[in-house]
């Protein structure tokens, strides 16, 4: 059974149609990389999946929840969904007034009501997994960009989500730091985490994904195994995207 199922998803910003009817599904344990030209609706689509962006019509079923059109981003029923569907942002969005450890332990303590001791233990474990256990007591600003994004990934994993959404996780990083973040993501993919990654990182899209989706002008124009989609795209749009200089 699909852990994510999207049907007829449409969204307009003013007169501009950002999503023009998306139909898609994701199976448990899949890693989907979402590629395509800028402005194609990739990020908007991702943000519709956890309710940060409301949509106009269609259905989103994700991790056992069904999202109705026009649900406001602060609707209380979205809270439980967001516990199961975590998100990592392009600009990390770590909380600058908290330490690395507090960033990771925040949701477990305040949303799941873990005891502080247990939350701390779990947070250290997750920081170990992203290779930053020794930075637990620093502030985000004392870390490099790549380290910050790895903390953000640990923070997203702290609630043991069923789906992880990543919105251009390496776009704000220089090439060297991209490598360390992508390594963490590959590791996660191997461990069976269901992930949807919006990315411009074509090598990663090809090698880490179970399937690649190509978005263009608000449509999902191509979906399939990386070898098929990247090497031999069927649609005009996807071909144009992969063969650009």
């Amino acid at each position: 059974m699909s852990i994510v199922r999207v049907a007829g998803l449409r969204k307009a910003l003013g007169s501009r149609e950002v999503l023009r009817g998306i139909d898609a599904h994701v199976e448990q344990g899949e890693t989907i990389t979402i590629v395509g030209p800028s402005g194609g609706g990739k990020s908007t689509f991702l943000r519709c999946l956890n309710g940060l962006n409301p949509f106009d019509s269609g259905v989103v079923e994700i991790a056992g929840f069904t999202l109705a059109p026009r649900t406001p981003p602060d609707a209380p029923q979205l809270r439980m969904l967001r516990v199961r569907v975590a998100m990592v942002f392009q600009s990390f969005n770590l909380f600058p007034h908290l330490t690395v450890l507090q960033n990771v332990a925040l949701a477990p303590v305040h949303v799941r009501r873990d005891s502080p001791g247990r939350a701390r233990e779990r947070a250290l474990e997750l920081l170990g997994r992203v290779g930053l256990r020794d930075r637990a007591d620093l502030r985000p600003a004392q870390l490099s960009g790549g380290q910050q994004q790895r903390v953000a990934i640990a923070r997203a994993l702290a609630m043991q989500p069923q789906v992880l959404l990543l919105d251009e996780p390496t776009s704000a990083l220089d090439p060297q730091m991209r490598g360390e973040v992508l390594a963490v993501l590959r590791d996660l993919a191997r461990s069976g985490m269901t992930m949807l990654v919006v990315t411009h990182e074509m090598a990663f899209a090809r090698t880490a994904a179970t399937r690649v989706w190509v978005f263009d002008e608000g449509r999902l124009v191509e979906s399939g195994p990386p070898a098929e989609v990247c090497e031999n795209p069927r649609s005009e749009r996807a071909r144009a995207f992969f063969t650009r200089p």
């Binding site: 800028s38 967001r82 600003a141």
Partner: protein, 473 residues
């Protein structure tokens, strides 16, 4: 001295006019605009000035001047004579030459009708109101056990008396009759607590002008002109003249005055800190309402802020203390704290609103994406960051409030600045009390600023690199 004196009278004859000053705000019966023809001045002092000028062979020209600054303006040379209900006190004599009295009044004790305590001595332990630096103020201070409440207007003490905020008012018969006894709930308990006189004042060193004014006043009295003027304005009958003014009991700026200053400083600090601890949460509620509330709540918050920012805090204090008195009976200290707190709340609202607005949108999104409730997002993520941004502005406002708190003296709270003005009049000098007052304000504001700076450093963290970038697609 004689040389200067000789020139004063000659100067007036040469300029062809006697420039005399008063304050139209004091109103009837002293100097006021003719209600029928506002270009004309009316009042018993206008007629006395005219009588004097006629005898000097010049015309009388009125100069408007704030009453409490008549003597400093006289000394500066803005006019020749101050003639406007100036009481013959040692304080006045220390600053100017005074003429013979032109009017004798009695200090009258006014109480609520049927009030059992009817003499000053009996009012020990009670609150008695009067005007600051008046003869009545001196008398009250010299009566042991009386708690003196100081006002800056003539009507307010009687209003507070009727409202039971004080138990008696001691002021001169002219004021008592016009502003106090017009209220049927009040009555005179003692018609003649003491005698005082009104005198005209000229600059020190212009004794010849003083003598000329005295001769003119003598002549006006001998011809019955003065009593005719008093009768025309329905002034109380003139009792026999009292003894000459009391000996000059000049106070010194000593330890006792310093204790009074310290007490004033404590009141200032107390009022300011309490007003600020009201303003900050009030401002926060207003700001949150403005950002997250529904249309009606947003509009109300907006109106509150604009209303309280857009009108003078002085007016707000008056309205709170006097205007609302028939409905809500606040004591002066409570009204002062509430008034300043509500006013500064409007400013804090904008500080908080700006601070919350300065947080990158990604912070709220990240908090929401973790499953935090709206309230948790605010409490755990947004407000701690906003506090740090708002802290310098809030410190600024607190220091500003510390000084603005001097405004509460209009509703009878004696704080540091008011204490300074009272002391300055008592010791006949503004220099030393002024410096002491400034030093005390600084001694309060500087540590507050340091404290805030340390707090700021403790909350401090460098900006997150990349935090301002928004996701592209």
């Amino acid at each position: 001295m004689a040389l200067v004196a000789a020139s004063a009278l000659a100067r007036i004859e040469k300029q062809g006019e006697l420039r005399w000053a008063g304050d139209l705000q004091g109103g009837e019966p002293y100097v006021y605009r003719d209600p029928v023809d506002p270009r004309r001045l009316d009042g018993f002092e206008v007629e006395i000035a005219a009588g004097i000028a006629r005898r000097l062979g010049v015309r009388a020209t009125f100069v408007q001047n704030d009453w409490s600054n008549l003597l400093p303006s006289l000394a500066r040379g803005d006019f020749d004579v101050a003639l406007n209900g100036i009481e013959d006190t040692p304080v006045v004599r220390a600053q100017a030459l005074v003429t013979r009295p032109y009017f004798v009044f009695s200090e009258q004790l006014v109480v609520r009708r049927g009030f059992p305590l009817r003499t000053l001595a009996a009012l020990r332990g009670h609150r008695v109101g009067t005007l600051a630096s008046s003869l009545a103020h001196t008398i009250l201070r010299d009566t042991p056990g009386i708690e003196v409440v100081l006002y800056s207007g003539q009507e307010e003490p009687y209003r507070d008396l009727a409202l039971r905020r004080i138990d008696a008012v001691l002021l001169d018969s002219l004021i008592a009759e016009r502003y106090g006894l017009t209220n049927p709930a009040l009555e005179v308990a003692d018609t003649d607590v003491a005698r005082g006189t009104y005198v005209a004042a000229v600059r020190r060193g212009e004794a010849d002008l003083r003598d000329a004014l005295n001769r003119a006043l003598d002549d006006m009295e001998a011809r019955g002109e003065l009593s005719a003027i008093f009768a025309k304005y329905h002034l109380p009958p003139q009792p026999a003249l009292p003894n000459a003014a009391a000996a000059d009991q000049r106070a010194h700026f000593d330890a006792a005055q310093l204790v009074l200053f310290l007490r004033g400083a404590l009141v200032t600090l107390f009022v300011s800190l309490l007003a600020m601890s009201l303003a900050i949460p009030l401002g926060l509620v207003l700001a949150l309402t403005r950002i997250y509330g529904g249309a009606v709540a947003r509009f109300s918050s907006h109106c509150y802020v604009e209303l309280f920012r857009g009108t003078p805090v002085l007016l707000q204090l008056y309205l709170l203390y006097y205007g609302l008195a028939p409905i809500v009976h606040l004591d002066a200290l409570t009204a002062a704290i509430l008034g300043l707190g509500m006013n500064y709340g409007a400013y804090e609202a904008e500080v908080h609103r700006a601070a919350l607005g300065a947080i990158p949108a990604g912070q709220g999104e990240a908090a929401a994406a973790l499953g935090l409730t709206r309230w948790q997002q605010l409490r755990l993520v947004l407000l701690p960051q906003a506090l740090r941004t708002a802290l310098p502005a809030m410190t600024n406002d607190l220091i500003s409030l510390l000084k603005d708190s001097s405004l509460v003296s209009v509703i009878t709270v004696v704080e540091l600045t008011k204490q300074m003005t009272i002391t300055a009049v008592d010791v006949r000098s503004w220099a030393l009390p002024g410096l002491a007052c400034a030093a005390m304000y600084f001694a309060m504001s500087y540590p507050l600023a340091r404290l805030a700076a340390r707090l700021e450093a403790r909350l401090g963290y460098p900006e997150v690199p990349g935090a301002l970038q928004e996701s592209a697609a």
